[in-house]
């Protein structure tokens, strides 16, 4: 699977961002990519650059995969 380049996350300036290998890089990535509640912003940002039709198709595939894992059993909570 290849991924096309996305615009930088809001608030990220590639000109001033630390480079991979820089000691500050891991902490910087975590600070911009993960929200204080632990939400991965990069996943959201990528999804926001897909079409609604692509999102719906991805949802159907994801649920199909989960159902395969559960042997076809649906969750009781709706």
């Amino acid at each position: 699977m290849s991924s096309r380049p996305l615009p930088p996350l809001p608030g990220v300036d590639p000109a001033t961002a630390p480079a991979p290998g820089d000691p500050d890089y891991p902490a910087w990535v975590e600070s911009v990519a993960i929200s204080p509640e632990g939400i991965d912003r990069t996943l959201i940002w990528a999804s926001l650059h897909r079409t609604p039709a692509a999102r719906l198709a991805a949802l159907e595939r994801a649920v199909a995969d989960l159902l395969e894992l559960s042997g076809g059993r649906y969750p009781e909570i709706r």
């Binding site: 650059h49 949802l59 649920v63 199909a64 969750p75």
Partner: protein, 165 residues
């Protein structure tokens, strides 16, 4: 009866029957860009008699029955569509939750007013605005709603940033 969901086909079938409806809940959030999963398609339908008739025809084609852990095959009918507020159904295209209202008594007029058109290929769907999805989750306030809120709020924030808002 539970099938691998084909939500796109299910929406297309509702449209073919002329069912006035708005996609709400987690599916609306996914369409807005939230990377999450849901096993059910949540829909609010216009509660007028003509629309209920169209909906009933669509449900017959979907071979819809009420979800029942005991396996009874109870079918929706005109009386139930008129009187019940929430219908948890299984169909041949996946699970379908039909609702008369969401959140704090947000009925059809409010839900319709807070929806927007979304293109899904050759289909145009009315989908609840993400802000309203978040408000309905806040109002429902179940454990699973509270768990979803940080993701939904971050999605809304990033959507606004993407759109320059």
């Amino acid at each position: 009866m539970d099938a691998t969901p084909r939500f796109g086909e299910l929406l297309r079938l509702l449209a073919r029957h002329g069912v006035e409806h708005v996609v709400v809940g987690a599916t609306a959030a996914v369409l807005a860009g939230a990377p999450m999963t849901t096993f059910d398609l949540d829909v609010v339908f216009a509660p007028n008699p003509e629309n209920r008739s169209r909906l009933l025809a669509a449900l017959a084609e979907l071979d819809a029955v009420y979800w029942d852990p005991l396996g009874r095959r109870l079918r929706p009918d005109a009386d139930r569509l008129e009187t019940l507020r929430h219908h948890q159904l299984e169909t041949r295209l996946g699970r379908l939750d039909l609702m008369r209202e969401i959140g704090r008594a947000q009925g059809w007029p409010e839900v319709r007013a807070r929806s927007h058109a979304v293109r899904l290929g050759d289909l145009t769907e009315r989908v609840l605005d993400l802000e309203a999805v978040i408000e309905s989750k806040e109002a429902d306030n179940r454990e699973k709603d509270r768990a979803a809120l940080p993701l939904l709020r971050e999605t809304l924030r990033l959507r606004r940033a993407r759109d320059g808002g």
